[in-house]
């Protein structure tokens, strides 16, 4: 993979290599499969962080049969990746602790593995079947199914609660109702025009997705992006963080029944989106990125600078008021505690892991775009509860404005914003971004025709949905909505 070290491994060497990597303080980042031309079994790829802040390494395994050893017992966060690979490529993992369908629901009947590029894409037959749930023998335990159509304007998912009175014994979210096969949508497309798809994987993460995708194609083509484009990318990425975090705080205030706090958070989010539109033409910062730079130059004028200044003042007054409200803080303290070990093992990312004491941020640890020339503060908390998750985000709003203020004067210098590039046949690249919700990866493999072959997307919500239930088991119903809001999850990003 261009710009990222690759290492070929035999299927029988995997377990030992994984044990060594974990004992060195390394961590798995994601795993994906792809079909190489002429091979009968898919190749497995593991993205590995050998130690904190060390460059990523990709492990490649070309199995010669339909079964490979599972690593999910050693590195539990891999459990979902392996189940996804089984669903989409038909490859089975020996010794998987939880060998159930994940992204395809139990009632899906694919005629062939949906991501096998040798077969034509066709709509799957589907019958609605109940998901596999734990068996409960006690008559006192009640089961509450909730969804997929739920109250309020929310994304579709179904949650099962096993509970006695107020006490939740076991929580089982059934996700992937919204699995749209977005990775398949990239297949055969022209790399320079496919940002449109990346922008529509998770709407509220449009810019981060466009950025990680563009950087993956740039890595595959081996080009550098002009400095002005790199700086503008940082500006836009931080604007995305600001409106998402303001939305998050408004929603969290809503779950703690702080109505004026909710209204103010949502109003500031609206102001941020209106600034986005005035600057870029899109409230979601879409239609700007292209591999090689930006589709057009932006010049944040005095009007935008003034609006951002006002937003910064309003946002900091707002978070001060929230933090000064005991009823709000009381509901967050000790709610949904995620300990550091679970956060690490199960793959928590972004503000969620940083609230559990894991000091990781792709912007600082693996700098991209223009982050290497900026002073970036990465807030970290250790309590691991809902309050810590909210605190990390409030501090990140301030840190984002600090970055924006450093950038604006540097954007006065004109310069080119786009480099022409062509993607060589068979090229591959890895791109990443620290989205408002955490680490986002795109692995791009091109075909011999220079068009996109396999595109793998690892969204932060895929990681954090995996972790979230560990904070719900043995908690209580009253805290559920607050705890869920404190994770700041999307479903479209997770389901893809």
């Amino acid at each position: 993979m261009h710009a990222t070290e690759s290492r070929m491994l035999g299927a029988d060497e995997l377990a030992a290599a994984c044990a060594r990597m974990l004992s060195d303080g390394g961590r798995m980042q994601m795993a994906w499969a792809r079909m190489r031309p002429g091979m009968s079994a898919p190749e497995l790829n593991y993205l590995v962080s050998p130690a904190p802040r060390r460059p990523f390494v990709v492990w490649r395994v070309q199995p010669d049969r339909e079964n490979v050893p599972s690593l999910a017992q050693q590195a539990p966060l891999l459990s979902w990746y392996e189940r996804e690979i089984t669903d989409l490529f038909g490859l089975r993992f020996d010794g998987h602790p939880d060998p159930l369908p994940l992204v395809l629901h139990a009632g899906a009947q694919p005629a062939h593995p949906p991501l096998d590029p040798r077969r034509p894409e066709q709509a799957m037959a589907f019958t609605q079947l109940p998901p596999a749930l734990p068996e409960v023998s006690s008559a006192d335990v009640q089961l509450l199914p909730f969804g997929p159509v739920r109250a309020d304007v929310v994304e579709s998912a179904r949650f099962f609660f096993f509970y006695i009175g107020e006490h939740i014994l076991h929580y089982h979210p059934q996700l992937f109702f919204k699995h749209r096969g977005m990775e398949k949508r990239f297949e055969g497309c022209e790399p320079l025009r496919s940002v449109v798809m990346a922008e529509r994987v998770s709407g509220t993460g449009s810019f981060a997705h466009a950025l990680a995708y563009s950087q993956a194609v740039e890595a595959a083509a081996g080009v550098e992006v002009p400095q002005r484009a790199r700086r503008l990318r940082v500006l836009l990425a931080e604007l995305e963080r600001v409106y998402n975090h303001l939305h998050y705080l408004g929603h969290l205030a809503d779950t703690t029944t702080l109505k004026v706090g909710q209204a103010q958070g949502k109003l500031l989010e609206e102001h941020a989106k209106q600034i986005n539109a005035q600057l870029t033409g899109s409230r979601f910062l879409r239609s700007l990125l292209v591999p090689g730079g930006l589709r057009r130059d932006l010049s944040p004028g005095p009007g935008i600078t003034r609006s951002l200044g006002a937003l910064q003042r309003d946002a900091s007054a707002y978070v001060r008021a929230l933090e000064g409200t005991t009823s709000y803080r009381d509901r967050l303290h000790d709610t949904g505690v995620l300990d550091q070990r679970t956060a690490f093992d199960q793959g928590a990312t972004g503000p969620v892991e940083r609230a559990s004491g894991l000091d990781r941020d792709l912007r600082r640890d693996h700098p991209y775009a223009g982050y290497d020339e900026l002073d970036l503060r990465v807030p970290v908390e250790t309590a691991g509860d809902a309050h810590a998750r909210a605190r990390v985000r409030t501090e990140e709003i301030n840190a984002s404005f600090e970055v924006i203020l450093q950038l604006l004067p540097r954007l006065a210098t004109p310069g080119p914003v786009r480099t022409d590039l062509t993607v060589p046949p068979g090229a591959e690249g890895l791109g990443w971004a620290e989205s408002p919700r955490g680490s986002l990866y795109y692995a791009v493999h091109c075909g011999d025709d220079g068009r996109l072959g396999r595109v793998k997307i690892k969204s932060p919500s895929f990681s954090n949905w995996r972790v979230f239930p560990y904070t719900v088991h043995e908690s209580n119903m009253m805290d559920y909505a607050i705890n869920e809001a404190s994770f700041g999850l999307t479903i479209a990003g997770c389901d893809r």
Binding site: P114, Q122, M124, V149, G181, K184, R193, V196
Partner: protein, 266 residues
């Protein structure tokens, strides 16, 4: 708590007067559907057709109009406005594309379509107020983000007598987003069946209108096409909150339809 009372009082009303005259619709700078001028279209040129990711621009046999835009498929990506060498497709600020007939999203030379009479009769039941049940049938969450914005203090949808309701039993309107994935097809249809008659359906966002970038895959449909009877189509990716409010008021006949034959009437 008292700090929030003080906070609210000090900030005063944040709600726009729009759609009353002189009010701010909040969409300054937003790029809408590309504007089409067939008179400038170059003979034999297919540049826009090639770049369009959703087939919204299809070549036509009519030599006077070589390309026929279908705004029901447009995801507002602006790629065609950059590819067009003659200025036939240009960026615009036009986003008010809510229509009652699907054909009104297809570009035609002579723009005119009669407004459905049947709808008008059904509407008598709820002229002033409306209760909405939203169903996410597989969106990217961009539409949900804008639907949630409707109840922020700037748009404050309640002031117009329009409410979201948790139960389909109390709903007048089924508002659908997303391309309709296989697992959500049945829950969507069940929600519709649970609604009392008369009931209305609004396809919100390009995915619900025609499938969008995700439509027609191994696990996705093409929105509400051939699935449910649709009373209002609102393409957009996503439609902004003002466009959604215009659509809802159009549905209640409190605002006139502005788009016909694939363009805003001027």
């Amino acid at each position: 708590m008292p700090i929030w009372t003080w906070f609210g009082l000090r900030h005063g009303a944040a709600t726009t007067a729009w759609p009353r005259p002189g009010g701010d619709d909040g969409q300054a700078g937003v790029l809408g559907m590309p504007r089409f001028d067939p008179g400038r279209c170059g003979a034999g040129c297919r540049d826009c057709v090639e770049v369009c990711p959703t087939g919204a621009l299809a070549p036509s046999a009519d030599p006077r109009i070589p390309v026929k835009p279908d705004y029901g498929r447009c995801v507002v990506c602006q790629l065609c406005t950059e590819a067009c060498p003659t200025g036939a497709l240009t960026p615009s600020a036009e986003w008010a594309y809510a229509v009652r007939e699907r054909d009104d999203l297809r570009w035609t030379q002579a723009a005119a379509s009669p407004v459905g009479r049947e709808l008008r009769q059904r509407l008598r039941a709820f002229r002033r107020s409306l209760h909405i049940r939203h169903v996410d049938a597989g969106s990217c969450n961009g539409c949900e983000s804008e639907l949630q914005a409707l109840n922020n203090p700037f748009y404050n949808l309640h002031r117009l007598g329009i409410f979201f309701t948790p139960s389909p039993r109390f709903a007048d309107l089924l508002l659908v987003t997303g391309s309709v994935t296989a697992p959500l097809r049945e829950p969507l249809l069940n929600t519709y069946e649970a609604m009392p008659e008369p009931r209305l359906v609004m396809a919100t966002g390009t995915c619900a209108v025609s499938g969008g970038v995700a439509g027609g895959g191994y696990n996705t449909g093409r929105g509400l096409e051939d699935l449910l009877p649709v009373d209002l189509y609102l393409p957009g990716c996503p439609p902004n909150p003002a466009a959604i409010i215009e659509g809802l008021l159009l549905l209640l006949e409190r605002l006139p339809q502005r788009s016909r034959g694939g363009r805003i009437e001027r």
